[in-house]
Symmetry: D2
Subunit: 378 residues, 4 copies
């Protein structure tokens, strides 16, 4: 995640401020449930909500405490206690860090998925609009880079539309897979916490309940999520590659919008390069890079180890922020794409009658020639 | 795909014989539809079914023709014509090779998925049986490899059960994603073939219709399929890793079944090594290796290029055959796993009261101690 | 490794026959050294060489024994004993299976590297010949797919020549890295075998000595080897991609040789598709697929586990056989590449004076214009 | 690259300030050479050095210009002109952006390699020290996680020492591969710049000359560099995994240093978890994640496209910063590792005489028993 390829809304999901706020909400909801169950005083739960909601968490201070105790959740709880006072001792009762961390990550990934779904919707509507605009614009269809049979430019875009519709469905499934809540205490046994606490927190936060947690939410869920992002990234690469091809000098059937003031090359001012779609090709590689580490994260040792954590700290933000940026950039490219129907026609005309060889072959076979002979003749 | 890690039923799905048989069926179903539409004579369609169904395709002969014409589908059609005679010229009318190849691949992958679903069912029932068997068998839960709190061995297996249930659902989705039919001719425009042919073939073969094909079935579908296999492989690795840990000398809470006659080590006869689960760890790496190439296959050029083909010839069989073998091997391992409850108890007892520190911490905080103080005391 | 993408010489390196022959040689050389050291009778060593050299190992029989004892090296030793008789008990003294297996793999990989080095040499000489042939053939240089400044076609090929020269150097280094011998017994301590045995075997087989083996040859060596193959594969993809671009209808500056009798498309007979270079693009993905599993193989548990084995059984042959095939195919493509200098000139002429914008920009700045102004003017 | 896993010295290599400073130096050295060749006035070169050296580049201002012109090098040159004045028009004569960008990246990667080499040296000396400390400390060697034969703890560390020595050599080779300079103008033809400029810049910056650049430095070099980092990361994972195993409750032969004040678990205060080595396992996955995108970057289109750029902006810093951090963390772990020789002895004693089965087998065969019989007896 670097500013150059980031948009603020997605970045905000992964900010420390957001994270600590979610931590607090999980703890506070859990306190509510525990108060309801009589485990802690109702007044304490109330105080925790009131004082915690009003508190402005100091990220640097929490970091400083963590440097000492080398434990992030304990650092936060210590900081939280400064706002809440005495009742802070009722926070986090019977819970373990993973309850907070993993449920938070689930919320962040679900929110990221929501943003990505909106991105895909925007992309779909840009593609749809342009597809109808060029529904009847003839252009040559190419297999192997070689002219084959005529298609329309709208049909090309319709294929992209269908592909991103599939991507959307996959992301909906991946979101569902990831949006689970685990509040089950050390090694996931509910030994010191009532399962109804988990149920309450899940409900309040719009999550489903992890059926069997082993302290951590199992990482096959995250792997599936990142793998799905990787597939979406590859679909982005496909459409970007198409545009790069269409813009090349000899084809020149379409072109990324080139804003006034934009410069093509420090050496060759005349050039209008498809830099956005080339960039999208690279961004796709970045998003996909998260897939393998996410798959490697699945096989944690016994009830849990922490090896997954650094990977997720890195690629949780990286993959979602980059994909969000890429989808928005692609939407923009499609939206403003400069299309040259006359060049499409020129390219279509170039090969003369040759592109109709299939029809000749067909006619010959229908007239009684064997396929082999027809092929040789045509 | 090597014999050592293969089972015959999955291998058969990918045999040339199976492939050519599916090719024939696609062509013959297409002929039926074309005959119904009056494009070709009904008698021809009938002849094609009769003579083609009776034909025994000669793989070596087809290969020999391919070596000459350098085109697999043309080689097959030439061979097919030898059986069908004159009416062979009505076969493949208005179609393109990809119609046959891609629809066939879809059928093979769907069949492979069916087999894998059965494998998962078998695994689930083995896990379930053993989970109930050890439902109340206490064992230490470990986080970071360190003793944490007691769990039961049944609970460990229940977590695996839940994980493979998720894997099953994902595979059902991936199967649906891949099971599509494209019979749309060159660059997918139906220029020389009626869409009703596609509809008919799809219906007969239990596939859905590709909404927008561009000659090829788009490769995001395949990417999603292989990515899903990669996630399942990682879940296998997780359970295999658990057993490897349990079998290590110092833990020794469970052990792979060691058949009479089996040898542990050429140098050290006494050893009983968890070689099956170590092997499963490696097999998981093999299955996952297909994910990245499958993602790289998505961005084909324009309406299609053939770069995906070699990857699929290799990893289509490799990933499914290896995963099938791995699931069966894991089922067998779970089924026969030798469990040592007494060793579990011994390990549980080892750390004395220490494993109860959470409860102490909890009691202290409930009695009024601040969390910080309680932590230091406990 | 599938026949379609295989060449016999590389396949032979990985055959069971070759493997068992190397196993025998390692054992027999070790016997020589042990005899020299007085550990076993000299007559035994002599008998082992004589009878073993004459023996024709029966792969199926060894496999059958392995199915029973579930241990490949023991199965082989049992089979070997049938030929050698009584003295067979002196074979494998103080050694462990890994001594044989890992040293054999090292030999196979070194031989594979030798073949690949020869392949690269052949490729280099084809590139060189064609580079000189077109040394002065002007063609447009393209950045971002857009016409930039003229280059020559020979220069394009010279870049490829330089790249494969680097690949060669890297492979020489990787070969050196992999070509080590470990004969050090269980957990690599030489507890029951003299280090001079290792030294002798290494010398006889042209290997260096593993400085510290832990029973197995450490897998960072193999990882480096496969990573190097992955880089070479990517360089193949680069040159293949160049040719695919040059052959596309609108560019048409070069073309893969199209043999008489070869068919372009089952639907469109006129098409000449760059199917070989598209195929090379896919083969590159296959070779690269071995890199991640090889990296995952490095972190074996303690002194060794067997998880690496299945990965190597699969990707040892797959990656080297596929790369060998790909290099040979690329050599053939370059060797026979049909080049169209007149089309290069036509494309060069297409953009008129525009490609000279850099020179204009330069002249303007030298005459005193600020860079910014010159850029806007030019 | 996130602060949590970063060290300042490596981060500084990738800062915008460092980058712009290198850009300036490349341009200024090139001016020197051009002045020497009489292409630009000597006084201009002098002014450029003087004013540029004194200038404090304003990153935010450059970014603002870039947002307008959408070209980073032009943005920088515009900013630079503000300091240099009129003579700025002599800067960047006949050069193209890639000359600056790619040579800068080469310098950054070479500097990163230097830091990593220092890291490895530090690690090697920590390992060496501890290896000698425990040279004669007996401990059980384990294959498959099962007790095999005794080794010493020093020997375990010696294996790690040998492995990181190999890593060092590989990194030296990768550094050499990456440290090249290209100043060859658009599409690398030297059409508007004298090759002696490149020669001069290379010499001044300690780089070798790119033999055939095609505007960009070919990406096989970068791929090799990242692949090498991936192998080193895997070696880190291996040693980290060893320590994680040694620290697990049942083994407990060694332990990461646990500082006073550090907290083990928010729920279970007694726990001392191997969190550093678990973290290293995750960091290894992060570093390796750069390998595949780097391999995918190799096949740029024609003389260049810009798809590689985003990948390198991301993983250039990410992979080197993370690996630097990981090497330092591992050095620290090894340096302070708490070793428990008495527990090693206890574990050694656990299996009684069983670990000596190899010696029994050996003795039996030497006394005349067949291998098969001896194996069954022992």
């Amino acid at each position: 995640m670097i500013p150059r390829y980031s948009r603020p809304e997605m970045v905000a999901i992964w900010s420390p401020e957001t994270k600590f706020r979610i931590w607090f909400e999980i703890e506070a909801h859990a306190c509510d449930a525990m108060a309801e169950l009589g485990v802690i005083p109702k007044s304490a739960a109330k105080t925790i909500w009131e004082k915690g909601s009003a508190a402005k968490f100091d990220v640097e201070k929490i970091d400083a405490i963590e440097r000492e105790v080398k434990h992030d959740v304990i650092a936060f709880l210590t900081h939280l206690a400064e706002f809440i006072g005495d009742d802070a001792r009722f926070v986090h009762q019977g819970m373990t860090s993973s309850d907070v961390l993993d449920t938070t990550l689930a919320i962040q990934m679900a929110r990221a998925a929501d943003l990505l779904l909106k991105d895909i919707d925007d992309l779909l509507s840009a593609i749809k609009r342009r597809a109808f605009e060029y529904k009847m614009t003839p252009t040559i269809g190419r297999s192997h880079g070689i002219h084959a049979e005529p298609v329309t430019f709208g049909l090309k875009l319709a294929a992209a539309y269908a592909e991103f519709t599939r991507c959307r469905e996959r992301l909906v499934a991946a979101r569902k897979d990831i949006a689970t809540c685990a509040i089950s205490g050390a090694v996931g046994t509910f030994a010191n916490i009532d399962p109804r606490v988990e149920e309450h927190v899940a409900k309040k936060l719009g999550l489903s309940i992890e059926p069997v947690s082993t302290q951590v939410i199992p990482r096959d869920r995250h792997a599936m999520f990142f793998a799905t992002l990787g597939v979406i990234a590859s679909s982005i690469e496909r459409l970007a590659t198409e545009i790069r091809h269409l813009q090349r000098s000899e084809v020149y059937e379409a072109e990324e919008y080139f804003s006034p003031g934009q410069k093509g090359s420090s050496a060759m001012p005349h050039k209008r390069n498809p830099v956005l779609t080339e960039n999208l090709t690279g961004l796709a590689r970045i998003v996909r890079a998260a897939v393998t580490p996410a798959l490697e994260n699945v096989a944690l040792w016994h009830e849990r180890d922490i090896s997954h954590s650094s990977v997720e700290r890195m690629f949780g933000p990286d993959a979602t922020v980059t994909l969000d940026f890429a989808l928005a950039r692609l939407t923009n490219v499609i939206d403003k794409l400069v299309v040259y129907p006359e060049n499409m026609q020129k390219n279509l005309d170039r090969l003369g009658g040759l592109v109709h060889s299939q029809r000749v072959l067909l006619a010959l076979t229908q007239k009684g020639a064997s396929r082999e002979d027809a092929y040789t003749q045509s």
